[in-house]
Chain length 209, copies 2
């Protein structure tokens, strides 16, 4: 039984996740990733061959993991409304355990997939595909109204990603008192409740009595 020494590649990936999420692909510095991972740069190149290679590996793994979480829900056999609740909760949980995910996703969308190869793009595509599979039974059964799955996907995931990723900006705005004093603080919990409620209503088919 070979016990592969994965510890250093894994530490590099973890450090890269932080750095890429904070600075984006172009803003990320290989030196900083190496320092954060407590490896020297040569080690990093030994394992991932280039900044781009490291980036792609990280994104492929991350997108793949999100898709798997969603696919589990799609085949759970739950009622449509419960599946939607679960999907939102799964995204929130994934983000809570992979805090780097929202900003990386947002940036990659803004970058137009510039740094991605076919494999990584495929992993990226598997996320909306899985989400579509979650909604499909509800639409087919007439519990959800007919919607384009991709439209529903963006309507669901975009607010979550943007809300979480915007935490630092919102903190700055509140610290500098740039938002109206009347606006109360918005916690992640309140936001998720609000959003879940919104999406359930948004997707529900009109009652035809």
């Amino acid at each position: 039984m070979t016990r592969p020494a994965r510890v250093s590649p894994d530490r590099i990936l973890a450090a890269a996740a932080l750095e890429f999420s904070e600075r984006g692909y172009a803003g990320a510095r290989v030196d900083r990733i190496a320092r954060r991972a407590k490896v020297n740069k040569a080690m990093l190149y030994y394992h991932f061959s280039s900044k781009q290679g490291l980036y792609r590996t990280l994104l492929r793994q991350t997108f793949g993991a999100v898709a798997i979480d969603l696919e589990r829900i799609a085949v759970s056999g739950l009622a449509p409304a419960d599946m939607l609740d679960q999907a939102i909760a799964a995204l929130a949980t994934f983000i809570a355990t992979h805090t780097y995910f929202p900003s990386i996703m947002l940036r990659e969308v803004a970058d137009g997939g510039l740094h991605l190869d076919a494999d990584t793009l495929g992993a990226l595509a598997s996320v909306p595909t899985a989400f579509g599979a979650i909604l499909e039974p509800g639409i087919r059964q007439g519990v959800f109204r007919p919607m384009h799955p991709v439209a529903a996907y963006f309507t669901t995931i975009a607010p979550i990603l943007m809300f979480v990723a915007s935490t630092p900006v919102r903190k700055q705005l509140s610290r500098r008192r740039l938002m109206p004093a009347a606006v109360p603080l918005l916690t992640p919990e309140t936001f998720l409740e609000d959003l879940t409620e919104s999406l359930q209503r948004a997707f529900a088919a009109p009652v035809t009595t």
Copy 2:
């Protein structure tokens, strides 16, 4: 009457908008902005003093312009549901005439406002503030359900930004056939209709007969 020669600063801003939206702050190259604006680099530095200064000027103007469009709707005196329709349409129109806006907004959120000064952050904050003013009468009158304005803001604007900004990625996915063949193409028009419908239902107060 002095006729200020604004032509070259304006061309530089237009070129910067393109470059920053395609590559982000860190990925943008001053050389490329100058070349795109058909000015030489020294001219650019003469007008904006630094890459950061140029970036902040662009963002301050852009965020300010969006906020003004929304503020007009907030004071229009329309019915709450019509104001919401108008707000979504205004965002769509602004994006159609300022195609660089979505990716810049997405990236800035991901960057945590790192490159912004107080003025620019203030302009950024004026967007959700204006959106909150649009929803407030509806909530007060009981036409919309009680929601946190910032939650409603993200629920509305995030899908629009992400859908538009994702056009290049979605094109790539469809060109490389990485989405299930069953998923039809999603046009901006269909998306906006779907989203408008979704948000009206999401925000409407439950009917209490």
